[in-house]
C-alpha cells in the first residue's frame, strides 16, 4: 500500500527525465517539479506574505501575462514572452477571479473578501474604478457588447448583473450554492457558472450540483445543466468551436462508509462533458486511474485545434493531458457508467505532468503553443510546451524565498500525497479551507453509525475539543493520528509537518460576516433576535433553566462553551446524544445543520428538530421571533 504513491512518483520521474531533455533542447532552465517536501531547512516562523498565484490570463495579442495573486492582493503584469515584470497592481483583498473585457482594454478583478470589483485600464495599468458588488465575488465576465458585467458571488449564491460602464447593479440571478467560476461560450451568447458547494437536497441523498446557463442577451438564467452526485465544481472550458464544454469537479461518495478509501475510492475526480460533440446528455468521465488520483481538478483548458485538454489537479500537483479525439471516440461508444469505471481514463489520458504545489488556474498562449499553470503554493508558474507536453521552464514570482511554517502547513493541507493512492487531502472536504456541505459516515464509530456533518474551519483554533462527540482534545490529535488512521491510510506526517499543519489550521480567520452592518451595529430584527438569544424568561414569564438558554451552551465570542450537551437530536443511528457544542462562526454559511446535517436550514433546527425544547427553549416563540433569532445568528 505504501508503495502505491511511488508509482505516481516513478512515472512522474520518467516524465521529468523526458521533459528535462526537452527543456535542454529548448535551452531553458528546468525547474524540478517534485512533490511536497517538508521544508525543514528553510522553515521560518515568520508570517510572510506570498504571491499565491491563482489565475492567469494572456492579453489578446499575447504580449502580456496577467497573474492574479491571491495572498499579496495584486495583479502582476509580466511580459508575455520573457515573463519579466512590467508592473504590480494592488487590488482588493483576496482576489479570486479576473477576466479581460472582450476588447482587452479593461481587466476586471473580483476581490472576494472586501466584496468589490477592481477595474484596471490595461493601457495605463492603473485601477480606474472600484465597485461594490455582492457577497464574496469570485469571478467576473463582461458580455461581448460591453454592456453588462456578470459577477459570481460565492456567499450570496448568485450572479450579479452590473452596468459595465458604471458598475451599478441591475439585478441578481439565482445560481448554485457557492457560485464561483464563470466562463463565456466562444460565441459569447451564453455564460456558464459553477458553484463549489452542493445545492440543497434531501438528507442522505446524493449531492446535486449544476452548471447555471445564462443568456447574455437577456441576462436571464435559461438552463441549469444537472451534475448528479457532484459536490465541488470548478472551472469550465470550451473547445474553440463551442461544440464541447468541460467541467472540472469532485464526485464524493459520502453515502458509504469511509472504509471505501481502500475499497474503491471515496472521492472521485471527474470531468463532465457537454455540448454537441457528446449529444443531448452530459457525460461524466473519471480523471483518476486505478492506482492514483488526479485529486481536486480545478483549472481546465483546450487547445485551439481541439486536440488536447489540460486539467490541473491541486491535490496531486499535476496537469493531466487528455487526447480529445480519443476521448470523444470513447464516450460515444461507452456513454453509461464511465464515471465508475476507474480504468476508463487509460483510454484518453495521455500524460500526467508534475507541476508545483496546488496548481490552480491555467492559460494557453494565443497560439496554443504554451500552457501556463499557476502553482499557488509555490509562487511559481509552470510553462508547458503543448507539443511535447513537458514543463520547459518555471517562472518564479517575486516574494519570500523561504517557506514559512505556515506556508508549509498550508501546502500540507492542500496536498493529497499522504492518502491512499493520493486520493484526498484536507482540502478535498474543506474546500478553500472551509467545508463541503456534505455529511460523512466515518469508520471509527461503526459502519452506518454516527453520520456527521462537516464543520467549518474558520476560527477553529480556540474551540477544542474537536469532533462532534468531542473525542479529540486538540488539533494535533484531530489532524494527526485520527486523520492518518481513518482518512489517509497510507502515510503519516512527521512531527514537524503535523505541527505546521496545525499551525496553519489554527491561523484560519473568519471571513467577514456579510450580515453585520458596516458599522458593526445590529438591525432592529437582529437586536430583537439577540435579546431572544440572551433571554432568561420565556414568553409566558417563566424562567428558562440555565441549560435551556441559547447563550449558555453557545457562549463567548465564538458561540461555544466547548462542552457537550444532549439537545434531543440523537437519531437511531447515533450511539450517543451527547454532542460537542459547535461554534457559531459564520453559521449562516454552513447549511445543513445539526451534527448529522438533518436540518436543511437554520429554521428547521427549531421547527422540526426541537419538539421538547431540549435544544433551547424555543417552542414559545412566534414565527416573527424565530425569524429574528435567525437574523441575529447570521451575524455571528
Amino acid at each position: 500500500m505504501r508503495g502505491m504513491p511511488g508509482n505516481r512518483r516513478g512515472r512522474a520521474g520518467l516524465a521529468t527525465a523526458f521533459c528535462a531533455l526537452a527543456a535542454a533542447v529548448f535551452g531553458v532552465a528546468m525547474w524540478n517539479p517534485g512533490t511536497v517536501k517538508a521544508a525543514a531547512g528553510g522553515r521560518t516562523g515568520e508570517h510572510l506574505i506570498y504571491a499565491s498565484p491563482v489565475e492567469l490570463l494572456f492579453s489578446p495579442d499575447g504580449a502580456r501575462l496577467y497573474v492574479l495573486c491571491n495572498q499579496s492582493d495584486e495583479v502582476r503584469v509580466l511580459d508575455g514572452s520573457t515573463y519579466s515584470v512590467i508592473k504590480n497592481i494592488s487590488v482588493g483583498h483576496e482576489p479570486r477571479g479576473f477576466s479581460l473585457s472582450p476588447d482587452g482594454a479593461r481587466l476586471f478583478v473580483a476581490n472576494s473578501w472586501d466584496d468589490t470589483l477592481s477595474v484596471i485600464d490595461t493601457r495605463t495599468l492603473e485601477v480606474v474604478a472600484t465597485w461594490p458588488v455582492g457577497a464574496e465575488p469570485s469571478s467576473v465576465v463582461e458580455d461581448r457588447r460591453a454592456e453588462r458585467l456578470y459577477v459570481a458571488n460565492r456567499i450570496s449564491n448568485d450572479v450579479a448583473v452590473l452596468d459595465a460602464q458604471t458598475g451599478a447593479e441591475e439585478k441578481r440571478l439565482a445560481a448554485g450554492r457557492g457560485a464561483s467560476y464563470m466562463t463565456a461560450s466562444p460565441d459569447g451568447r451564453r455564460l456558464y457558472v459553477t458553484h463549489i458547494y452542493p445545492n440543497p437536497s434531501p438528507h442522505r441523498t446524493p449531492p446535486e450540483s449544476e452548471v447555471t446557463v445564462i443568456d447574455a442577451a437577456s441576462a436571464e438564467v435559461v438552463d441549469r445543466i444537472p451534475l448528479r452526485s457532484i459536490a465541488g465544481v470548478f472551472h469550465i472550458a470550451f473547445s474553440a468551436d463551442g461544440r464541447l464544454g468541460v467541467v472540472a469537479e469532485l464526485h464524493p461518495k459520502n453515502l458509504v462508509p469511509l472504509t471505501a478509501v481502500e475499497h474503491g475510492w471515496v472521492m472521485e475526480d471527474t470531468l463532465t462533458l457537454f455540448g454537441d460533440d457528446v449529444g443531448d446528455k452530459t457525460v461524466e468521465i473519471p480523471l483518476d486511474d486505478l492506482e492514483s488520483h488526479a485529486a481536486r481538478p480545478f483549472g481546465v483548458a483546450m487547445t485551439p485545434d481541439g486536440s488536447r485538454m489540460y486539467v490541473t489537479s491541486g491535490g496531486s500537483e499535476i496537469v493531466t493531458v487528455i487526447d480529445v479525439p480519443r476521448l470523444l471516440r470513447y464516450v460515444r461508444l461507452n456513454r453509461r457508467g464511465i464515471a465508475y469505471d476507474l480504468s476508463a481514463s487509460g483510454n484518453y489520458v495521455v500524460k500526467r505532468i508534475a507541476v508545483g504545489h496546488d496548481p490552480r488556474g491555467v492559460a494557453l498562449s494565443p497560439d496554443g503553443r504554451r500552457l501556463l499553470v499557476a502553482n499557488r503554493l509555490d509562487d511559481t508558474i509552470s510553462v508547458i510546451d503543448t507539443r511535447s507536453d513537458c514543463v520547459v521552464s518555471t517562472i518564479a514570482l517575486a516574494g519570500p524565498k523561504v517557506i514559512s511554517a505556515l506556508r508549509h502547513g498550508e501546502q500540507t493541507f492542500y496536498t493529497a500525497r499522504y492518502s491512499f493512492h493520493g486520493g484526498i487531502g484536507c482540502a478535498n472536504c474543506h474546500l478553500d479551507s472551509t467545508f463541503d456541505g456534505l455529511q460523512w459516515d466515518l469508520e471509527p464509530d461503526g459502519l452506518g453509525r454516527d453520520i456527521v456533518d462537516n464543520r467549518l474551519l474558520e476560527e477553529v483554533k480556540d474551540t477544542a475539543p474537536y469532533k462532534w462527540n468531542g473525542g479529540n482534545p486538540d488539533l494535533p490529535t484531530e489532524c494527526g493520528p485520527r486523520t492518518e488512521k481513518y482518512f489517509w491510510r497510507s502515510e503519516n506526517y512527521d512531527d514537524l509537518t503535523l505541527a505546521d499543519l496545525v499551525l496553519y489550521i489554527r491561523s484560519l480567520p473568519a471571513r467577514p460576516n456579510r450580515w453585520r452592518l458596516p458599522d458593526g451595529q445590529l438591525t432592529p430584527a437582529q437586536e430583537r433576535g439577540k435579546a431572544i438569544f440572551e433571554r432568561s424568561v420565556d414568553n409566558f414569564g417563566r424562567p428558562i433553566p440555565l441549560a435551556n438558554r441559547c447563550a449558555f451552551c453557545h457562549s463567548g465570542p465564538l458561540g461555544t462553551s466547548r462542552k457537550s450537551f444532549d439537545v434531543g437530536t440523537k437519531k437511531e443511528t447515533d450511539d450517543s446524544g451527547l454532542l460537542d457544542t459547535p461554534q457559531l462562526t459564520n453559521i449562516a454559511l454552513t447549511a445543513p445543520y445539526l451534527h448529522d446535517g438533518s436540518a436543511a436550514t437554520l429554521e428547521e433546527i427549531w421547527t422540526l428538530y426541537n419538539p421538547h425544547d431540549q435544544h433551547g427553549r424555543t417552542n414559545d416563540l412566534t414565527k416573527d421571533e424565530l425569524n429574528d433569532l435567525i437574523e441575529y445568528l447570521r451575524t455571528r
Binding site: G134, A174, P200, V221, V222, D223, K623, D624
Partner: protein, 363 residues
Amino acid sequence: MMRPARKTLWMVAAFVAAGTLADAATDKAPPMPRYRFVNYTTANGLPDNHVYSVLVDGDRIWAGTDNGLGVYENGKWKIYNVKDGLAQQAVLSLALDKRTGDVWAGTMGGLSRISGGRIDSFTQFNSGLSNDVVYGVSVEGENVWVATAAGACRLNLDTGEWSLYNERNTPMVEIWVYGVSAAPDKVYFAVWGSGLLEYNQTTGGWDKYEDPDRETEIVLFKDQGLIHDIVSSVSYVDKIVWASTYFGDSRYDGRYWHNFLTKDSGLPSNFTNFVKGVDANHAWFCTDKGLAYYDGANWAVYKPSLTTGKPEMTVRDAQGNLTHIPVATAPANNYILGIDFQGGDIWVATAGGLSHGILQSQP
C-alpha cells in the same frame, strides 16, 4: 419598450376602432373587445381543470392548477409537481420576476421559485415564510411579497431576510391575507376581514382602508371607501388601486373611491375572486358568474350561459343599456379565478379549464 398592459390596451383599442368604423351604423353598443376563446382542459394536456392562477411570460403560459403547475410552450404542456420540488400541488398564485425571468408560485404548501428549470421551495418550516398557505405573491425589485393565511411577508432576495407583517406590527386585525400587489412606491394587501392595507415603501408606514359603513351586506356610504372588509384581491397599477371583494369592487385613486356593484355597473356578480388592472381606467374582474371588462365607462361580460351553457357576450354602456353580442365561444367556465394578458389576447383561469381569449377584429 411598451409595457405589456399598455400594449394590450393599444391593441384592444386598435381592434375596437376598426370595428367601430365597420359597424357604427348597425351596432349601437359601444365597441368592446371580442375574443375567440380556445379552452384547455385535461383532455388536451392541462394537469387539472381547476385553474387557480395564470401567468403570461412571453410565449410561455403558466397555469397554476389543483394538481400541479403547467407551462404551455410551443404547443405542449410541461407539468411541474411535488416530485419536481414544487412546494405543493395546488398552485394558488403566480408572479413573474421581470428582471430575472424567474417565476414564483404560491401553493397550499409553501412558496416555490422556478428558475431555469430548478425549483426552490420555501415553507414555514424551512424558511421564514409565515404560513404555508400562500394566496398571493408579487415581485418588486429585490423583494418578493407574499400573502399567506397567517399574515404577509417579504423575502429580500439579496440578503435572504424574511420580514413578517401581521397583527403585531401592522393595522391588520385579521391575518388572512388573500392578495398582494407591489410597486416601487407602495404595496397593497387584500386582507380577508381586515380591508385593504397599504405599505409605503419610502416611509415604512401603514395605512388601512375599510368598509366605511362597517355593514357586511349593505352599502350605506357608496363611493366612500371599500364595499366590504373581506377583500379578495388587489391590483395596483398606474397609482390606481383596483380592489375586489365578495360584495362588489372598487377603484381608488388615492383620494376618491368608486364602487362597482351589479345594480349600477356591468359587473355580472358582486362575488369577485380576482381583479387585474390594465391601467388607471381599464380593468378585468373575475367573478363567479363570468369575466368582466371595464373600459372606464362601458362593460363587457364573457361567459358561458348560466342556464344553457351557450357562449355569451354582453355589453353595457355608460347609460346602462344592454346589448347581447352573438358569439361562438366563451371562457371554459363562468367561475373565473384569474387573468393575464398576452399582447391583445387574454388568458383566463377558470374552474373548468384554462381559456385563451384571442382578440378578434369587430365584424
